[in-house]
């Protein structure tokens, strides 16, 4: 059985069953996700796909357009820079642990993309951030095919 559990006496508060539900998984992300991941890791490129019908450039890339139910197979490189759509300066995580310094979460419309790209900002103080500013990716030297292959976006 996954996880482990044990009864803990809770006194007059009722008994508590403590434990951990542990579910190791290995999802197939699909072939489009594989190429997206590989291009990030090996070529520092952000690749989207264009819908054959509505022509939106979709991120993350999928073999279909969710709006048209049509194939989306034309690969399109989008820029690693774009316009800041919106942001928030986060002081801590949802469990109330406070970060050493605020983390600036951002939505970015990369040049050539049709969908917002979520990431974090760096090399800028929260008070100096404004919507509409131009930002560019700072790539990590140590890449594994996830969004963290980009360290952060910085103002340009």
């Amino acid at each position: 059985m996954p996880g482990k559990s044990g009864i803990q006496s809770g006194g007059s508060q009722g008994v508590g069953v403590e434990g951990e539900l542990s579910i190791p998984y290995r999802h197939a992300a699909g072939r489009h996700a594989e190429r997206f991941s590989r291009e990030m890791r090996d070529n520092r490129r952000i690749m989207g796909v264009r819908c054959s019908r509505c022509e939106a450039v979709l991120l993350p890339p999928r073999p279909y357009c969710g709006f048209c139910f049509e194939p989306a197979t034309e690969w399109v490189e989008v820029a690693d820079e774009g316009e800041l759509v919106t942001f928030t300066s986060v002081q801590g995580d949802p469990d109330a642990a406070v970060f050493e310094e605020p983390r600036i979460r951002a939505l970015i419309m990369l040049d050539g993309a049709g969908v917002h790209f979520p990431h974090v900002l760096g090399e800028v103080a929260p008070d100096d951030v404004s919507e509409g500013m131009r930002v560019k990716a700072v790539w990590s030297e140590d890449r594994n095919g996830t969004l963290s292959d980009i360290k952060y976006f910085r103002p340009i």
């Binding site: 809770g10 508060q13 009722g14 508590g16 539900l21 998984y25 999802h27 992300a29 996700a33 997206f36 991941s37 939106a56 979709l58 991120l59 993350p60 969710g66 709006f67 759509v85 919106t86 942001f87 928030t88 300066s89 986060v90 002081q91 801590g92 995580d93 949802p94 469990d95 979460r105 939505l107 049709g114 969908v115 917002h116 979520p118 929260p126 919507e131 996830t146 969004l147 963290s148």
Partner: protein, 383 residues
């Protein structure tokens, strides 16, 4: 043409930070028993149950559908578990409405229960499919608030979020089931520590263990059971996708569409005039203003004015969240059903101390996921 159906009984638990005295099925049963008692019927009169609760990753509970049945007293009857993110509780009610209007069942019990205190740690989980493209709920709401303020500044300012909190916490003082019943002033909200700009601590909701239940009946049974049922007059559900081109967080299309569908069904043309109040899913302060606009009660950018001028106060022209809303009690997926429950009770004239006088039509709203789920339910005192 759809068969008529109505809410004829309602029950909820007190919504508390943590209920250590009851298990999940015991918590669900509290609300179910109250709803049945409220309707004046027995569990055996129920023909089917729709149960809504959070996913495992929300509360660490395994497949509750397997053992919730006996707690609800319906062995041998159909039980359907539903889940649609934050709108789960509302989806349970709506699925129960389909059960009844299909003609297959006369009396259906909808129950929603969440016990988020039982998950010890961890925020909302990753979207595994999106390879990190998903924001957590608070980040999403913060960005939504910023886009909204920036678009409409200075008609909408941070102070307007604070006014929503002050209003709703004041309303909650009259609601014995609310979780947070101590009033706060708008200036206290403004002075509370920032958590994710522009959201401050008091702009954000608490988190509660709680449950809600509604008894839904067809026309014939509804007339027998209740002297003044809350008839379903309009229903709208809209599920957009995640990662959508042109998605406007400050005026979310799923909310607009769900309202349009419900208004069309209910023959409503001027929502502000034809409806008497609304319970919206105000998970964060600014959202109340955004929903007020997207549901068509005022023009985009006028949400701030609505709260500032007291229009949405409990004694205003168009009360919003007389119960105190999610900002005063946030029991996960049950919160969406609570909005419907409060709207139905207002129409039935049985909302208690926070009853608004003379309510004939009331609306309930909810949202979920990455803003992609939206439901709207309109109740009427007449069939």
């Amino acid at each position: 043409m759809t068969r008529a159906a109505a809410v004829v009984g309602a029950g909820q638990t007190v919504h508390a930070d943590r209920r250590t005295d009851v298990s999940v099925p015991e918590l669900a049963r509290e609300a179910a028993r109250r709803a049945l008692e409220d309707a004046g019927i027995r569990a055996r009169d129920v023909d089917a149950v729709v149960f809504g609760s959070g996913p495992e990753s929300w509360e660490g509970v395994n497949r509750p559908e397997g053992w919730i049945g006996p707690a609800l007293g319906v062995p041998g009857k159909p039980i359907l578990r539903v889940h649609t993110g934050g709108t789960t509780g509302a989806a349970a009610t709506i699925a129960a409405f389909y059960h009844v209007t299909s003609g297959m069942f006369d009396v259906v019990l909808a129950v929603a229960c969440d016990k988020p205190s039982e998950r010890v740690a961890g925020g909302l989980p990753d979207d595994e499919a999106g390879a990190g493209f998903t924001l957590d709920t608070r980040e999403l709401a913060a960005m939504q608030a910023r886009q909204y303020i920036d678009r409409h500044y200075p008609e909408v300012r941070e102070e307007h979020g604070a006014m929503v909190v002050a209003k709703n916490r004041g309303n909650a003082a009259k609601n014995p089931f609310a979780q947070v019943r101590t009033p706060v002033a708008a200036k206290d909200v403004m002075a509370s520590p920032p958590v994710a700009t522009p959201l401050k601590e008091l702009d954000c909701p608490p988190l509660a263990d709680g449950a809600a239940a509604l008894v839904i009946a067809d026309e014939r049974r509804a007339r027998k059971i209740a002297s003044r049922p809350a008839w379903f007059a309009g229903l709208g559900t809209c599920s957009a996708g995640a990662f959508m081109p042109d998605f406007d967080m400050a005026y979310p299309e799923p909310c607009v569409r769900a309202a349009q569908i419900a208004y069309q069904m209910a023959w409503i043309y001027e929502p502000l005039r034809e409806l008497d109040l609304v319970e919206v899913y105000d998970a964060f302060s600014f959202q109340e203003l955004i929903w007020t606009e997207a549901l068509g009660f005022c023009n985009p950018g006028e949400g701030g004015k609505m709260v500032e001028q007291g229009i949405t106060a409990m004694d205003g022209e168009f009360p919003v969240n007389p119960s105190g809303g999610i900002l005063s009690a946030n029991p996960g997926g049950a919160g969406a059903m609570l909005r419907q429950l409060e709207a139905a009770l207002q129409v039935m004239g049985r909302a208690g101390e926070h009853q608004v006088p003379g309510v004939k039509k009331a609306m309930a709203h909810s949202w979920g996921g990455a803003l992609q789920f939206s439901t709207v339910t309109i109740f009427s005192h007449r069939m």
